[in-house]
Amino acid sequence: MSETKTVSVGQIGRSLPRVEARAKVTGRAEYVHNLRLPGMLWAKIARSTVPHGRIRHIDTSAAQATHGVYSVVTGEDILRVIPDPYFGPAFHDQPILALGKVRFAGEPVAVVLAEDPKIAEAAAQEISIDYEELPAVLDEVEALIATTFVHEALKPAGMFADLKHLAGKRDTNVALDYHLRRGDVDKAFASADHLFEHVFRTPQQMHTPLEPHCAIADATPAGVTVHSSTQTPSSVRVEIARLLGLPENRVRVRAAFLGGGFGAKVYVKMEALAVALSLLARRPVKVALTMEEQFFTISKHGSTFRIKSAVTKNGRITARYCEVIYNGGAYADIGPRVAQKSGFSAAGPYDIANVSIDSYETYTNRPTAGALRGFGMPQLVWAYESHTDLVARELGLDPVEFRRKNLLKDGLPQATGTVLKDTATVAVLDRVVQRIGWGQPFDRGRGSLRRGRGVAIGLKASISPTTSVATIAVAADGSATLYCSTVDMGQGSTTALAQIAAEALGIEAEAVRVVLPDTDVTPYDMGTLGSRSTFHMGHAVRRAAEEAKAKLAALAAETGAPEGSNLPIAELFRRKYGMQAGTIVGSGSFVPDYVPPDHATGLTPNATPYWMTGGSGAEVEVDTETGHVRVLRLVNVADAGTPINPRIVETQLTGAAVMQLGFTLSEEMVFTDGQLRNPSFADYKIPGIRDMPEFLTGESVAARQESGPYGAKGVGETGTFGVSPAIANAIHDAVGVRLTELPITAEAVYRALRRAAGDPLPEER
């Protein structure tokens, strides 16, 4: 018999391999992508071909007549099983299939069901949809003043109390506006030594998880089971139960490992459609998207950010105005939270007495935008750290010294009024500076190849308040099973949470088995998003383990073990039950304190349970003849608190930086008249191994989040923050031109070089 040994300490800070490592290298790790159920039908979607229009007629006859087709389903059919089929985490604005109107080119309008997915796919192309086209609004700045409205009225979901005031608002494309007012910006601008104003833009981009979204629903009279590639099983359960009018316990949502998520798989995506189809067909139904279809499902907001700063002649920033407009696409998804939560920190990691922020989430006739590895932060840091560099250069100050002079430090209030605590901004910037060799001489290149360096640093508030619950069962041999709904999408949560549980129980992490999310057995968790799991679920797991440990101590006392005897756990069970029998269960939950922002000023003394800070340094080589940029060195530094598993944290940081490298240099969803032109890897270029800088690092500084579980905090997003502006700043350093829009393609650099030389390309003259 194998018995679990008690160990004293040491599970935190262990770089053990992922617990599922063997399953992943042998191809046997479970993904819903691989799951098929007996009798299952495949669903293939017919999508809107216009960005905005009223549906006049849907002709499904040819599809219906296709040999092998089980049925064809439209939005009207969905009403038979779900009378109010609108869903969404922030707003109930998205129909399961289009009803009456389409709001973006690519919106699901009808579905073909068949046992053979190829037949369903071919038949879906036979569906003919007639539209009365409407004017479309595509640009986020235009959306603020347009007279075309994507939705007739706003429909906040009620899940978030701070959105309730938006209910029923008409004739607007603004889904949410957040305003922060601190000090007197106008007065400070009026008396400023220097004023600087710039506008920065980012394009719509896509997560492209390699496991495309998929969901299988199996509706039976007893209830509904959904297997989904979701990051938020509990929240999906709540939403499906609401749509069906069922109690939560009749809806079971299972997730396996995810082939990447990055925010693409939060809240209901394909699940509601799969459930509706299974209810109609009375058979299990799988909705599995192609890579192309993912681009029409969720994306990262394009944005326009106007930033203006007042700076003294000594280089102190005295006031800053930020106007951030996010392009949210046709449905709100989690966009309103992106606009609000990122609004907290739009002014950057700087100590500024007077701050004014206006942050807008807009509806447009584009594919929906949601959260992508930072809830808006990469868009914001791109703008404010590019701006910071420009200000320093225009004042003739060293960009690093200018940052140091203004950097927000522990103990000082951030723009919201929330005081920075356990936030290693200074250490992160220092380490970036050291790693990139700032201030030291380096080869600046020659001829048409010019080199330069740049740095950038960002600061993010966690998404708050959110709840996590965990349960731990200790078996009679001393092994432990952890039940929690945190989803492992590659970030290593299964391993880190096993380490936390083991540390609290005093056993080895290898003796903890983590059950993959299944809402029938794993308790509620708000979602695996926003770098929240290590902190929130980490606390819940720690508390559950501590409760189990206390029960084990009580068992020891009850069975007459002398105090401090440290008997093996298995021996305690044997003493109590006379054999290997019994279970001890501990549970724990966690929800951090939070004070919602004042509606008028946006201020709050407690915006977040912890701050995340990360910075990057880049060295680039620009070919002035072609505009091509090579990133030679990219160093990334984060405050991760005390890393639970340092190796996995490091991989998270370099991985996030690689992803952001794509968003910086190549990735852009390109539209013509509202039609997406490049929804595939052939035309939408994500980083490959040849795009890696020769020198790439990811590291965390020595830090401790006192309020975190064993000193830890979240880190999944932190590695993205500084990459884009560090590269733009390095390009400026190399060749003296400033790029204000992502992505920084060779074409964009070349055009900028020609403009700077007073010789713009003919079409720009």
């Binding site: 290298v25 191809g27 046997r28 390699l210 990447g260 890579m291 590659g490 690689v658 994500i686 191994i689």
Partner: protein, 160 residues
């Protein structure tokens, strides 16, 4: 989808196999549908990401573009066929030791392509590594760790 189905015979992970396939069916679909293999996975569907990699007569192909009928008479290896019972292939061991993946969805493709790389270049240069693995995409961005794993695997295989 009207052309006549054909019976194809091949070796799959060391065992004789046969099945009836339609001319339009891809290798990745056939391996997943008929042989319940989950290692090869269709992601981009255009032969650009490498998630569907299968070794056909020791050469890595994109299973999403490779018609199953072409596999007639071939020796096929998927990631499921690399380990010897409970003993992992040195490349698999190296990927674990170097922590060369996050979500793991692309990992079978990288592992298979690495075996092909190391068969051709037992002591690969950095450029050879990048050349061979340029057709595999990892959205989690574990490339630095993958390079480390390849070098580690090369050492393991050279030592034997």
């Amino acid at each position: 989808m009207s052309a006549a189905p054909r019976t194809i015979r091949f070796t799959l992970n060391g065992a004789a196999a046969e099945c009836v396939v339609a001319p339009h069916e891809t290798l990745v679909d056939v391996l997943r549908d008929r042989f319940a293999l989950g290692g090869p996975r269709e992601s981009c569907g255009q032969g650009l990401c490498g998630c569907c990699t299968v070794l056909v007569d020791s050469a890595a192909v994109s299973g999403c573009l490779y018609l199953a009928v072409f596999a007639d008479g071939a020796e096929l290896v998927t990631v499921e066929g690399l380990a010897d019972g409970d003993t992992l292939h040195p490349v698999q061991e190296a990927f674990i030791e170097a922590g060369a993946f996050q979500c793991g969805f692309c990992t079978p493709g990288f592992v298979l392509m690495t075996t092909q790389l190391l068969a051709a270049h037992p002591d690969p240069s950095d450029d050879q590594i990048r050349h061979y693995l340029s057709g595999n995409l990892c959205r989690c961005g574990a490339y630095p760790q993958i390079v480390e794993a390849v070098n580690l695997a090369a050492r393991k295989l050279r030592i034997g």
